[in-house]
């Protein structure tokens, strides 16, 4: 149904777009606008990033309304935010944060060390519903030494702690307004929440008072447009100025040809893999997993499913992150070798396998191509489209699957391969040892060495079939500057966004 519809629309869009471009040329350009309309594909369920996992929450409020002790910048680096600076004890277990003074929430409430302590305690409390509770698990105690000093003691050194504090799930809420943050978010950021028309848009306006450098925009509206063809129409008609994650790659060339728009292809941390159920036959046999790696031609998948704009990967690590090793050549595309490996491991020709596909387009499109490639080596793949909620309960929780295609968007998430009971069910003592060492190491050079070892171990064991990095294809007005090109975390930081005069 979806596929037919897309084909249908592709035809109609192509035939009328020439007329669209002509009509647009006469559009008057307003000088130095102060407002911005941003298109987002999914509506957030609510606006409290400390109580929900939906990326759409952070895409609206992170850095704009809410801030954390640290923040992640456009290059994925950890920068000071509400904490001006910090010192780490030699044993890596005590972090002393010097907090910015004079910071207030949009309702006038002050931010100080006791507020920071409240947030850390709230996130790790027994009744906490923080989607990233593991980030706070290493904390032994948080103590407000004085209003401007926060001391955090850890149970064991945690190399990623400062990075984790910069995530959307670690932003600082005010004690008095935290309970209502889902519908009335009150933060310390440069924008304050103005209005939410459910199902349509979320509006932010500039806060009167802000501790950091002043923002250039007076207001920003996030408009929910989930239909790919509607997002095309909305940009073309000028109803939205920017679509930071544009959902229809098939239209990108049309925007490239149009001087009113900029097409910006950037990175995300989305490692797209075909996950294999390592605990289930025949995937418990390493030869079978390697055979699948040889059977899949990444280039065809990327050209066909991603319109050629994605980077291939050979392990569970993003190329832009420090410590990356290129392992894409480890299992070159070789159907003959795949066939012989399958034969060797006793998998008969015509073996039926189920490939579960969650809703995103990258999964559905890649699945079609991979099924054909696996057929070429004698496997009979049944494609099983599944909606998200059922994927979570059947595949992710129930481990009831053979293979599935999914993008892992958490940055530096090597820990998932060390987890018992994770959905792809990889169990390796060698890997766990590498990961344990990584967790206990704070020295950056040593960490990079360990990152390399971890990637190599995962590739060696052919845990999953590693496909490509999910690209971030953004389309926005040529006069707009300051939006993030890359998405080290899924956010729309508007602090440096402005219109050309």
């Amino acid at each position: 149904m979806t596929l037919n519809r897309r084909l249908f629309l592709a035809g109609s869009v192509a035939s009328l777009s020439a007329a669209g471009a002509l009509g647009g040329a006469s559009r008057a350009l307003a000088a130095a606008r102060k407002d911005l309309n941003i298109g987002i594909r999914l509506e957030p369920p609510h606006l409290d990033p400390t109580a929900g996992a939906a990326a759409a929450i952070g895409e609206i409020v992170y850095a704009n309304v809410f801030e954390g002790l640290t923040r992640i910048d456009r290059d994925g680096a950890v920068k000071p935010a509400l904490a001006e600076s910090w010192t780490i004890s030699d044993d890596g277990k005590t972090y002393t944060f010097k907090l910015r003074s004079g910071v207030t929430y949009h309702d006038g409430a002050p931010f100080d060390a006791s507020v920071a302590k409240f947030n850390l305690d709230r996130a790790r409390a027994p009744d906490s519903v923080n989607p990233q509770k593991s980030l706070f698990a290493p904390i032994e105690a948080a103590e407000a030494v004085d209003p401007a000093t926060l001391k955090v003691t850890l149970k064991q050194p945690a190399g990623n702690f400062l990075f984790g504090l910069g995530w959307p799930a670690a932003v600082m809420l005010a004690p008095a307004t935290a309970a209502d943050a889902k519908t009335k978010p009150v933060g310390t950021g440069p924008f304050k929440f103005a209005n939410w028309t459910k199902g349509a848009s979320v509006e932010l306006v500039r806060a009167e008072k802000y501790w950091g450098s002043p923002v250039k925009l007076d207001k920003a509206a996030f408009k929910v447009i989930s239909d790919p063809s509607a997002s095309f129409a909305a940009l073309m008609a000028g109803d939205v100025d920017a679509f930071p994650i544009y959902p229809a790659p098939e239209n990108l060339d049309q925007f490239r040809a149009d001087p009113r728009f900029k097409v910006v292809i950037g990175n995300t941390e989305g490692k797209t893999i075909m996950a294999l159920n390592n605990g289930r036959k025949p995937f418990d046999d390493i030869r079978v997993r390697r055979a699948l790696c040889h059977a899949v031609d990444r280039k065809t998948v990327i050209d066909g499913a991603m319109f050629g704009i994605a980077k291939p990967i050979g392990s569970h690590f993003a190329p832009q992150d420090a410590g990356y090793v290129d392992l894409t050549g480890k299992y070159p595309y070789d159907p003959a070798k795949a066939k012989s490996l399958l034969k060797e491991s006793g998998v008969p020709e015509g073996t039926k396998l189920r490939l579960v596909l969650p809703p995103p387009d990258y999964a559905r499109r890649s699945g079609q191509i991979i099924a054909a490639q696996l057929k070429a080596v004698g496997l009979d793949v049944e494609l099983v489209p599944m909606e998200w909620a059922q994927w979570l309960s059947d595949v992710f929780k129930g481990k009831n699957f053979d293979m599935t295609i999914i993008s892992h968007v958490e940055p530096l998430d090597l820990d998932i391969y060390a987890r018992d009971d994770y959905y792809f069910d990889y169990k390796s003592q060698a890997y766990k040892a590498i990961y344990a060492e990584l967790t206990a190491t704070t020295d950056q050079a040593k960490r990079i060495e360990l990152y390399k070892k971890a990637q190599e171990q995962i590739a060696e064991d052919a845990v999953n079939v590693f496909l490509f990095m999910l690209p971030k294809s953004g389309v926005w007005s040529a006069d707009l500057q300051g939006l993030w090109e890359n998405a080290p975390i899924p956010v729309n930081d508007l602090t440096e966004v402005s219109w050309k005069a």
Binding site: D127, A200, S201, A234, S393
Partner: protein, 315 residues
């Protein structure tokens, strides 16, 4: 008449009770855990348990059913899991879009279909009839989302007369709201008008061959007079039935058009709630729609009975 109405009322209450049980059971067996959907893949088991407790999902099913139904009876539709907002409020906001849209689309449908259908019937087997029937055949066959896209490309992108989508709300004045609903209403009305015009035509042709029309003609009326005074009114009964069905559809079955024009309507609320397993919203909104259809049918039944005394006696 009174016993008839009472009997119908009892049937209505029973239907609603059965519907509520069916809706509840379907929601129970639907795979997927609302807490897991809200907290995502990184959620720890203790966090999930804490959220399920907060949402009241840990209570036994019969208890939750009873709480839900007593809430419904008191007019309390419950609280959305994900939006953390009363469902009543969500429905009210969505109705502010869906109700005017459905009414506009229905008005447009009627304005197009009734005259066209009547014209085709009056000139049956002529070029006019053939032309109208051909056009309505196309109208039924063309997918309305595709037609919607064409409308958006022409009127929003090329001509820039109307917005490509979205809904600014009614606070900005009547015109800004109506403007946003024109293209979706046209897109919705086209297939509905095509269906209704065909129904109108065949119904009118049926009545035109009835005895009383022949009598009217024999009395000395012209064909046009007989059609307007006698046939038309009687031919409208099946047309009204179809319109009732169309209105229910237009109120909640328009999710695809709402998507194309990114309108915050009732259809998208339900669709999104199903995807997010916001069962509180799905249950209550579905129940509300069921109730509205059943009540509309009840009113239609009463009207029929008032119009046609034979129905009363049979019931």
């Amino acid at each position: 008449m009174l016993t008839f109405a009472l009997r119908r009322l009892l049937a209505l209450a029973l239907t609603l009770a059965v519907a509520s049980a069916v809706v509840f059971v379907v929601m129970e067996v639907l795979p997927g855990d609302p807490a897991q959907v809200m907290l995502g893949t990184e959620a720890r088991p203790d966090t999930l348990a804490a959220l399920r407790e907060k949402l009241g999902l840990n209570q036994p099913a019969p208890e939750r059913y009873l709480a839900w139904v007593t809430g419904l009876v008191r007019g309390d539709l419950g609280m959305s899991y994900t939006y953390a907002t009363p469902v009543t409020e969500l429905v009210r906001d969505r109705l502010a879009v869906s109700l005017p849209l459905a009414l506009m689309a229905l008005a447009l449908t009627t304005a197009i279909a009734i005259p066209l259908g009547a014209w085709a019937a009056a000139r049956r087997n002529s070029v006019v009839d053939l032309g109208i029937m051909g056009a309505t055949q196309v109208g039924v066959a063309v997918p309305n989302f595709w037609f919607a896209m064409l409308l958006a490309l022409l009127f929003a992108i090329t001509l820039r007369w109307l917005p490509a989508g979205g809904f600014p709300g009614w606070s900005g004045g009547l015109w800004s709201g109506v403007r946003a609903l024109i293209l979706p209403a046209v897109a919705l009305a086209l297939p509905q008008a095509s269906i209704l015009a065909r129904v109108m035509r065949s119904s009118l042709l049926d009545t035109l061959s009835d005895d009383y029309v022949r009598t009217a003609r024999a009395k000395g009326l012209t064909e046009g007079q007989a059609l307007r005074r006698h046939a038309l009114r009687n031919a409208l009964i099946p047309v009204l039935t179809i319109m009732g069905l169309q209105f229910s559809f237009l109120l909640a079955g328009t999710v695809i058009i709402e998507n194309v024009f990114y309108l915050p309507g009732l259809g998208r609320l339900v669709f999104q709630a199903i995807n997010q397993r916001d069962l509180a919203v799905v249950k209550s909104v579905v129940m509300l729609l069921v109730a509205s259809v059943i009540i509309v049918n009840f009113i239609v039944d009463l009207t029929y009975a008032a119009v046609d005394p034979r129905l009363r006696r049979r019931a």
